[in-house]
């Protein structure tokens, strides 16, 4: 499994984010009450998106090559989660200082320009890259995040806030493109790959 580099200047649109939190709901028929019981496994991102593509011969060639290099479900890639090309924050990426045991709180070197709802991506020791969302405005340098980090990143690891992405792989073994009159259409249906 290799991480296939996304061609430069990639922008996706019509992104659909479906974070999946494993749990079951037990409902009572008598009183219509409900109770949630967590199921095994980590919360996991499912992301669909369409490539915003300049229909030039060069870019279609590069993306066709990219799709083929993914080899269906085999290889992973970093899908950008911002639809625009502008950076999410103007300042440099902060680094990890520490992470709470439950993985829901991260202390960073600087929380400048960070706000609730922003995306972030951090590399984990296992080689995975976890996408998360800030679930509150930072308190000093303490970030509250969702979903949790499954591992503690090495202290000093930079968190990608400028151009966050998710490390994903395609779900279907058949994943290609459409081509009509010289316009190519690349769609991606992916799941987080850990």
């Amino acid at each position: 499994m290799a991480i296939i580099p996304v061609p430069a200047g990639a922008e996706f649109t019509n992104l659909v984010f479906e974070p999946d939190f494993p749990a079951q709901v037990n409902r009572t028929e008598w009183a219509r009450g409900r109770k949630v019981v967590g199921l095994p496994g980590l919360p996991k991102w499912f992301i669909k998106g369409v490539l915003k593509l300049q229909s030039t011969e060069t870019s279609i060639r590069l993306w066709r090559s990219f799709k083929m290099k993914l080899r269906g479900v085999e290889n992973t890639f970093k899908i950008p989660v911002l639809t625009g090309s502008a950076a999410q924050i103007p300042s440099a990426n902060p680094t990890v200082v520490s992470v709470s045991a439950n993985g829901l709180f991260v202390v960073v070197s600087s929380a400048a320009n960070l706000k609730e709802g922003m995306y972030g991506t951090v590399a984990l020791p296992s080689g995975h890259h976890r996408l998360f969302v800030l679930s509150a405005d930072p308190i000093s340098t303490l970030l509250s995040i969702q979903p949790e980090l499954p591992e503690t990143p090495t202290a000093g690891t930079a968190i990608e806030f400028r151009a966050p992405y998710a490390l994903v792989a395609q779900i279907e073994t058949r994943g290609g493109w459409e081509d009509s009159d010289g316009n190519a259409f690349f769609a991606f249906d992916t799941e987080e790959a850990y």
Partner: protein, 221 residues
């Protein structure tokens, strides 16, 4: 199987996010895994089997079947391990030696967490068994090794298929198995000396009384 303590029981009134822990005592490759998706380290529990590092996203342990408890013990529990032949050759080598797993412990624990993912109450042990069998299987979508786990009641209650003929295994001086075979064959004589057998019945006067008749006739002599 201990019940949840008071704190854990109270937590059951609200949403819960339990974690299950599994420990397979395989020689050379003790497997510890948990279902939370995060690595869990347990130390100082006072239980040597429980202390250890439980991997969150285990590459080896694929699944553990539910535990069904009845008054005759529990139904067979199965643990599925990743069984890709080429990649898992190290595991295959370890498991290929039956002494590395057969009859060794497999244990399961459970921990209750509340919505804040905070532990409620102690860690509850709910199953201990012995790994008794291993199969390798798979289909087009996945391959696996399946370890069958029996608890001690099932392991001890299994029929031994022993008969009177095995008596000598337990009591080398006992010759009753030989005597029973000799009698059934219509052969008398003292089995202790194994001397020349005396054929009884089947001759004149047997009158077609059959085996039982011949044995009775033998007794009456």
């Amino acid at each position: 199987m201990p019940r949840p303590d008071a704190t854990a029981s109270a937590a059951l009134d609200n949403n819960i996010f339990p974690i299950h822990f599994c420990f397979l005592d395989i020689v050379g490759d003790p497997t510890r895994a948990n279902t939370s998706g995060m690595q869990q380290v347990i130390s100082g529990s006072g239980k040597p089997d429980l202390d250890g590092t439980y991997l969150g996203v285990p590459s080896k342990l694929a699944s553990v079947s539910p535990v069904k408890v009845t008054d005759r013990g529990t139904d067979t529990v199965t643990a599925r391990l990743s069984g890709i032949i080429a990649i898992d050759s190290a595991s295959m080598t370890i498991l290929g030696n039956r002494a590395n797993w057969k009859g060794r412990k497999a244990r399961l624990w459970r921990l209750i967490r509340d919505s804040n993912r905070t532990q409620q109450g102690g860690i509850q042990h709910y199953y201990t068994g012995y790994m008794v069998n291993l199969t390798h299987g798979g289909d087009g979508s996945h391959q696996f090794m399946e370890i069958t786990i029996e608890n001690y009641i099932a392991a001890l209650a299994a029929p031994a298929f022993a008969t009177l003929q095995d008596q000598a295994d337990f009591d080398p001086g006992d010759l009753s198995p030989r005597a029973s075979v000799a009698l059934a064959n219509g052969v008398g004589g003292n089995p202790l000396t194994a001397n020349t057998p005396v054929v009884v019945g089947g001759g004149v006067g047997d009158g077609g009384r059959g085996l039982v008749g011949r044995i009775i006739a033998d007794q009456l002599k």
